[in-house]
Subunit: 591 residues, 2 copies
């Protein structure tokens, strides 16, 4: 590790080293750096730090999504650094996604010194509160100086930002660093007084650990709340546990299983809940077919009406499930560590502001042990029937959901599986059968954009040695094609499943399909792009397949191979949508 | 033209038609639409309007820069439309550039209805004041309704936004449109009462012209100010007119020439001032060599010290010029129609808040006619010597500035020439000799980012039938490679001069060059990208040349040809920088 106190040639170097020192001591082990001049002190300090891996990115938008994906996978923020100017605004989409998906993210923007603001100076914009309310915390840092109090303030501010970006409501934090020239580590006599580090060891060197170690203490519900929950559960055989997209501060698999066993209720596991895949699905009552089941029509009799629903995570991806919950009339407990509402059907009756895992464990301990309820058995039987029906269905064209399902079914164990918006995550929800394999499924479901998908996936992949699979559509692939540069520059390997239906396939599911024009020109937007040459620009092999069998063969070969392969499956969105509807009818007729 | 009042099937359709109707009546003739569902009412209304050309874009970042470039070229805003969510944040870089470069831009974001805000609803983010202080005007529009007062409010708001985005301080304006389903033009019985249009003609149909025609009245300086200016000018032979990067509300060529003739002063014309090229350079005292002259060392004697400087436009691109003005001790009048400071050396002594063209004309009329001063003749002689020296200099490696200079020298007449940051605009400043040809030079010098360059150029190109030339670097080309999609989708042809020095060549000009690592890995960032395959992805021909002569031949062929050609010139940034320095010495020795 570099000794941040020794021989800092000028105040900027001293300052940036102190900031990076605190980041490393706070657990940061990687950074995404975008080249630029004003950020030179930070870049130099990061590059010199032995414990921080530097990922160099040339497009700030992709850089921020890469950092987001990595933070999502690790639970620790990966800072992203840029120079001043519009570079900083390119981070904005990822900042919003991090905010809404509760992903730790630290944005470190360099800025011109205060006297140059609003002056017409080059690359000088108003970076104050640039991301508005989308960040948990913002600080405009003071001007660097070899000053005891200022340096302690800086160290405190960095720890504060890390603390704000993690904890019960993880998200983005933004630190703005004004720097005056010289930005490089050139000697500036007198800038850092001789002996400064010896006279001010705490300011110059910090502590052995972080200057301020932030100890988050996730709260369990109090007794009254636990009793209310237990009473509601004890009073009925008809209950559900619904796990929506998971947060960094979410529900662990073991706690979820313990709760399902204690309540005897089925566990509806969103593909992004981290509960649809894992060894627990062998024994726990994990239901993955709810989306297809509910889309096929109302369930029979009292299956329509659970009495109590325990909800974790964000709002489920499945629209049929959201509608089912809305119409169920059940008492709905939402467990949310941040105390926020993420439930736009407005059916919550009780908000439990507490740590999900602690809540599940405490509740499981509080309940009288009981058998799996008859209601649960009926739900599980329906679910099994659903998967049988899906297996027996023979589509007449490539059903995009089959591609997504195969990518999950044939994924290595363990693996990280990143699914894009708009269709892959929905298709995985409907067609991804729970599997006894340690697959970490991730997606950007905070704001559900199609921007930054590739970068987010590669960032997640950079965090582990697990194989990485990305399932994406052609629009998302195009949108973040710059993100492919990270394959080489950040040394990430992936299998990219590119479902290419030449445009916005999801619009076939919306009423606008009936209005053409403007449907084709403005919504479907076929682009006719040939993505094969991206294999010549970036560090990847490109293969195109035309059948599901061809896909499965190429996919299995890719996940076993080194390097990155993009497997493009050309589909017809309209035909796939028709097959999706035909499968819904098939499921309904089978019931 | 569509009749916006007739048979609107529902309130959203009625509402969006009214908005688009007002835009068209306010002079908007094109729109950039990004596909999405929530924005369906706007998209459908734009697509149905006979007088508005729809440019469909798949990457919102590129879309906004395309709209920026078009607005920069035309002076009229080209609205950019997106769905809700992170799509809107992708506009942010272009919004900031539009703000700082004073380019008319209208951002129309669709939003979820108010009851879904902060609820966890899909693709719902906080879009309130999303761009902070970077917009001239923001309105969160009310919920659509077939309501007289609301529709009049909408029409007024649209006209207001157009008015705010144009005028003395052009820039971006943001309208946020909440829409509730159904978004498509499906019949909703009772939503628009029968006979509504007949009973409320003004609300439903608007006026024949814009609902509110905004009449900007650019102000000339008052007599006292004119007298002060005239006195300062009359009192000296040593004066300069400095024209920085131009605004939509800037100084016209004829007014600039009139002022130069009346004062007898030389006109230092920034490449982005719109004054370096044009028929006027044959007779007017246009100086283009100041950057190279001043970089080569101090001028002789009193050439160092003009008594009075008249400044127009933004801060000059040339750093040597900015330093020269700072150190000159001159009285400096800055004429700025918006009354803002864009002068970070803080040497302004008088700010004239008035229309530049009117000021120049009024001042020219007020002054006693006089001959060109001896001082001016000496400046012009120095300038002529400079260009001779540049002609005589024989570089030992490709000098990037020679490529940029050739692109300007051999550009068709007329043409639009878009120059990227960071080096092309600086190289044009130094090496672009004034030329008697109607070349409109544009660049993004508001915040001087390298983002969105290609899209800005293609947007500018879409506005005229003139040939379009873009001179860009490899980082900018990579950064906005998505913008190349507009070649086909928006039917723009261009000649793209790609100066590829494999990374951030500008960093060779900064002290960080001496610190390696991290110079190569984190600043220079060679990427080794082979851009030739972009020719197979997008609608363009790709050619690579290795010499200046090869470039000139390929370039001349391209500007005469249909379609788009990318001409890549591989250069060595370090070598080019050395040649640049050698040329500075050459110029100095020649003096």
């Amino acid at each position: 590790m570099t000794a941040p106190d020794r021989a800092a040639p000028n105040r900027n170097t001293l300052w940036a080293r102190a900031a990076v020192d605190e980041l490393a001591k706070s657990g940061v082990d990687a950074v995404c750096v975008c080249p630029g001049s004003r950020s030179t002190p930070l870049t130099v300090a990061f590059a010199a730090h032995d414990d921080i891996r530097v990922f160099s990115h040339l497009d700030e938008r992709s850089a921020a999504f890469f950092a987001l994906g990595r933070g999502k996978r690790t639970g620790t923020p990966t800072p992203v650094v840029s120079t001043s100017g519009t570079a900083t605004a390119n981070f904005h989409p990822a900042v919003i996604e991090a905010n809404q998906a509760r992903v730790p993210l630290l944005v470190l923007t360099a800025d011109r010194p205060p006297e140059l603001r609003d002056s017409g100076a080059n690359q000088t914009i108003d970076q104050q509160k640039l991301y508005g309310d989308a960040v948990r915390h913002y600080r405009d840092l003071p001007e660097p100086a070899a000053d005891d109090r200022k340096l302690r303030s800086l160290r405190t501010a960095v720890c504060r930002a890390v603390g704000e970006s993690t904890g019960a409501n993880p998200g983005p934090a933004h630190l703005n660093f004004p720097f005056r020239k010289p930005l490089e580590p050139v000697a500036v006599p007198g800038d850092v007084p001789e002996g400064f580090a010896d006279e001010h060891p705490l300011a110059a060197t910090g502590r052995e650990d972080a200057f301020v170690s932030v100890h988050h203490a996730p709260a369990a519900p109090d007794d009254d709340t636990l009793n209310a929950l237990a009473d509601a559960i004890d009073g009925t055989d008809r209950g559900l546990i619904v796990a929506g997209p998971d947060d960094a501060a979410g529900l662990t698999r073991t706690a979820a299983v313990a709760l399902a066993e204690a309540t005897g209720f089925p566990l509806f596991a969103d593909p992004l809940s981290d509960l649809r895949y894992g060894t627990h699905v062998e024994t726990a009552p994990v239901v993955g077919g709810y989306d297809g089941l509910l889309a096929a029509g109302p369930l029979d009799g009292d299956l329509q009406a659970p009495d109590v629903v325990l909800r974790f995570g964000a709002s489920p991806t499945s629209k049929p499930l959201r509608q089912y919950l809305r119409d169920s009339g059940a008492r709905q407990f939402v467990v949310d560590p941040a105390g926020e509402w993420r439930e736009a059907t407005f059916t919550t009756s009780d908000l439990v502001v507490a740590d999900p895992t602690k809540t599940a464990r405490a509740l499981a301990g509080r309940l009288e042990p009981r058998e799996r309820t008859a209601w649960t058995d009926r739900v599980l039987a329906l679910d099994a029937d659903y998967w049988d029906a899906v297996d027996e269905f023979t589509p007449e064209a490539i059903l995009e959901g089959d591609v997504v399902a195969a990518a999950a079914a044939d994924a290595p164990d363990p693996a990280t599986l990143f699914v894009s918006n708009s269709m892959p995550v929905r298709d995985l929800d409907r067609f991804g059968r729970p599997r006894d394999a340690d697959i970490t499924v991730l997606g950007n479901r905070g704001a559900s954009g199609i921007d930054g998908i590739t970068s987010s996936a590669l960032g997640a992949g950079s965090a582990t040695d697990e194989p990485l699979v990305l399932v994406t559509g052609d629009l998302a692939y195009y949108h973040d094609s710059n993100g492919l540069l990270a394959l080489d520059r950040c040394e990430v390997d992936a299998t990219v499943v590119l479902v290419n239906n030449d445009g916005g396939g999801i619009f076939h599911m919306l009423p606008i399909e009936a209005f053409d024009p403007p449907f084709t020109g403005q919504f479907k937007t076929p682009h006719g792009l040939d993505f094969e040459p991206t294999g010549d620009v970036y560090d990847l092999e490109f293969a195109r397949v035309e059948t599901l069998d061809g896909f499965r063969a190429a996919y299995r070969e890719s996940v076993d191979a080194a390097g990155t392969q993009v497997i493009e499956v050309e589909t017809d969105a309209a035909a796939s949508h028709r097959e999706r509807e035909r499968l819904e009818e098939w499921v309904a007729s089978d019931r």
